[in-house]
């Protein structure tokens, strides 16, 4: 008899880090005396910060209603931006020494600049112009140039020199984290995947808020333990999540644990999922170029994914197509943050691609809080439409 994944100590650790991420960072600071830098978008080359002994922590929201961001952000910016800024204004990120954003969508920029201006005690902030054109042959060169500036700014702030050895060490830790999480994801190709989307979310998001070396230790054990896991849950419909910052556990709890029909996520193509860690740094003599290439060529955020010259497709779609085949996906949930333009701009084409592939899909618009009843109906109806032939007598 195999183990149940919910009993694994590692999973509990991920959840504990996820739930108490602020406490973790504060303790880390106390323990190490190091600096903590909040980052807004997954295009920030965390390795450079990590190489300087900094703990990079992703700035996330709390999914609680708030009323303090409206003086600074108009309603039409996405709920994630409001939520993250609210955390800053409420003092939950009061331990941050610095904050940075790699150029991404306008929503994040809007929120980031207010965060920088309005959250007290931030010593250091850095807006990193990361290329928007990741389908462009010069993007990596440009990214490398900007990473040089970024590195210099970090060194200048901390009064340290980031050596090649520091970078190598950071890249190694980060790559290991990526490799291990990829391994876990690959186990989900199985008929009976060892983890659910909720578990994956805990794993990935916790890696964004704790020291990767520490995360790696737990991850290693997790990968090991997962070999023996045999869950008794009914897998039901194999779902793939396509979206952005989907880290609302209510959404996973509803779809995977709260419906009339069994369903399990087998892949999350989003920036709190695979898009964050997929793709290694191929390190070499030119460390910053290696980093630049990894970030430029990773599975892109829709904000950066567009036709250019001879390239007419969307790089992300190619990845999605492969995942659907490799993971034997039955249906796709497109979970889009309300008002997220980059995603909205891809949705008509994405639907068309999925239709052509014969893959069922459903579009949900996420907000700060979720109308659970409405979502349940939609997802259940989608599953009903996929089966139950014998009820038509």
């Amino acid at each position: 008899m195999g183990k149940n994944v919910d009993d694994l100590a590692q999973l509990k650790q991920f959840k504990e880090w996820f739930d108490n991420r602020h406490e973790y960072a504060k303790k880390w600071k106390k323990k190490t005396g190091g600096k903590v830098v909040g980052y807004y978008c997954t295009y920030v080359p965390e390795e450079i910060l990590y190489a300087a002994g900094v703990l990079p922590v992703r700035i996330l929201g709390s999914h609680e209603p708030e009323s303090i961001t409206r003086p600074y952000l108009h309603d039409m910016y996405c709920p994630f931006c409001h939520d993250t800024l609210a955390q800053g204004l409420e003092g939950r990120y009061d331990y941050l020494d610095g904050v940075t954003l790699a150029q991404s969508c306008l929503h994040m920029r809007q929120s980031y600049f207010s965060f920088v201006d309005r959250v007290p005690n931030i010593e250091w902030d850095y807006y990193l112009p990361f290329p928007h054109g990741v389908t462009n042959p010069y993007a990596a060169d440009f990214a490398k140039h900007e990473f040089e500036n970024f590195k210099a700014a970090v060194e200048d702030w901390l009064g340290v020199t980031i050596t090649d050895r520091d970078l190598d060490r950071a890249i190694e830790v980060y790559n290991k984290n990526r490799e291990l999480m990829t391994k876990v994801f690959e186990m989900r190709k199985a008929d009976n995947p060892p983890i659910t989307g909720l578990h994956a979310m805990y794993m990935v998001v916790s890696s964004q808020v704790v020291d990767k070396a520490e995360h790696n230790e737990v991850l290693e054990g997790f990968v090991e333990e997962l070999q023996d896991v045999e869950n008794d849950r009914e897998i039901g419909t194999r779902l793939m999540l396509i979206g952005s910052e989907d880290y609302d556990k209510e959404l996973f709890e509803l779809i995977e644990y709260g419906m009339n029909y069994p369903a399990t996520f087998v892949f999350e193509e989003n920036c709190t999922g695979a898009r964050y860690f997929w793709g290694l740094v191929e390190n070499g003599d030119d460390r910053l170029m290696a980093l630049a290439k990894r970030y430029v060529y990773r599975v892109p955020c829709p904000a950066k994914d567009w036709a250019r010259g001879d390239f007419f497709g969307r790089r992300r779609f190619q990845f999605i197509e492969e995942v659907i085949k490799d993971y034997n996906v039955d249906a796709v949930i497109i979970a889009q943050m309300k008002f997220c333009d980059p995603h909205e701009l891809d949705i008509p084409a994405l639907r068309e691609m999925l239709d052509n592939m014969g893959v069922t899909h459903l579009h949900l618009e996420l907000d700060l809080t979720q109308p659970v009843g409405q979502f349940r109906t939609r997802v259940e109806a989608m599953i009903e439409a996929m089966g139950e032939e014998d009820l038509f007598i």
């Binding site: 209603p65 109308p371 009843g373």
Partner: protein, 256 residues
């Protein structure tokens, strides 16, 4: 000679007759309905009757709310912002922040020590309809307005709910109702959501004490409670006059 202030709103029409000495002689509140002109005429006549003043003795009539288009007999118009500011300063001179929550519109007005309007903010369109949302929810929960406010005070926990859009919030209420969540908790969640939204507008002005809450929702003790918690400071409501007639008082004052 006395003057009159008239405020035709989307839900209620309010008329105030005021003496030269700034004393309120009478006030009347009526449901606006769809024939605004008729309602405003009727409300005005009734206010005159209550005050014991003849129509020809009224020196000047100032209309706010929908303004002259709904009360064509008015001599002048005053915007709701100014009316709220003037009225609030009249009933509580220490007021520096006025928060008005009406059926459709919510607004916040910042006053200086002389009662001049220094800044104002309106709800973003997405956040409109606070008052009528409450009306709909009262109907939904099958309670009286008084019970609705009371219920919120009995809640033992706060349920997070969409605070920006009443339509989404309503979907969430439907979900809650169908999950057999107690009415007290739903009521509290609704009040908190509305307070969140209203506070979000007020925060565009740098909020200063005293805060005076006016408009129809200022009756609702559940709402007042949520507002206090939300703003983390004392929130006052008019004592001598119903909270929804304050802008009509402001209009009357500007007629003097």
């Amino acid at each position: 000679m006395p003057v009159a202030g008239i405020d035709v709103g989307s839900k209620l029409t309010k008329v105030v007759i005021m003496g030269e000495n700034k004393k309120v002689l009478s006030y009347v509140v009526m449901r606006t309905g769809t024939d605004h002109k008729k309602t405003s005429e009727e409300a005005f006549e009734e206010a005159l009757k209550k005050a014991g003043v003849a129509r020809e003795d009224i020196k000047k009539i100032v209309a706010t709310g929908f303004g002259k288009i709904s009360a064509p007999f008015a001599d002048e118009e005053l915007t709701q912002i100014m009316a709220a500011g003037k009225g609030a300063y009249y009933v509580r001179p220490t007021t520096r922040t006025v928060i008005e929550v009406g059926a459709e519109e919510s607004r916040a007005v910042k006053l200086d020590e002389n009662g001049n309007v220094k800044d104002f903010a309106l709800a973003d369109k997405c956040a409109a309809g606070a008052g009528s949302f409450v009306d709909a929810m009262i109907r939904y929960l099958e309670v009286t307005p008084e019970e609705f406010g009371q219920l919120a005070l009995q809640a033992t926990r706060a349920i997070p709910m969409n605070a920006q859009c009443v339509v989404f919030a309503e979907s969430e209420v439907v979900s809650l109702l169908h999950s057999n969540v107690p009415k007290a908790e739903i009521s509290r969640a609704i009040h908190d959501a509305i307070a969140d939204r209203v506070a979000a507008i007020a925060r565009r002005l740098d909020i200063q004490d005293d805060v005076l809450l006016i408009g129809g929702l200022a009756y609702d003790i559940g709402f007042i409670d949520s507002m206090k918690r939300e703003l983390g400071r004392e929130v006052y409501v008019p004592e001598e006059y119903p909270p929804e007639v304050i802008p009509a008082i402001g209009a009357a004052l500007s007629a003097l």
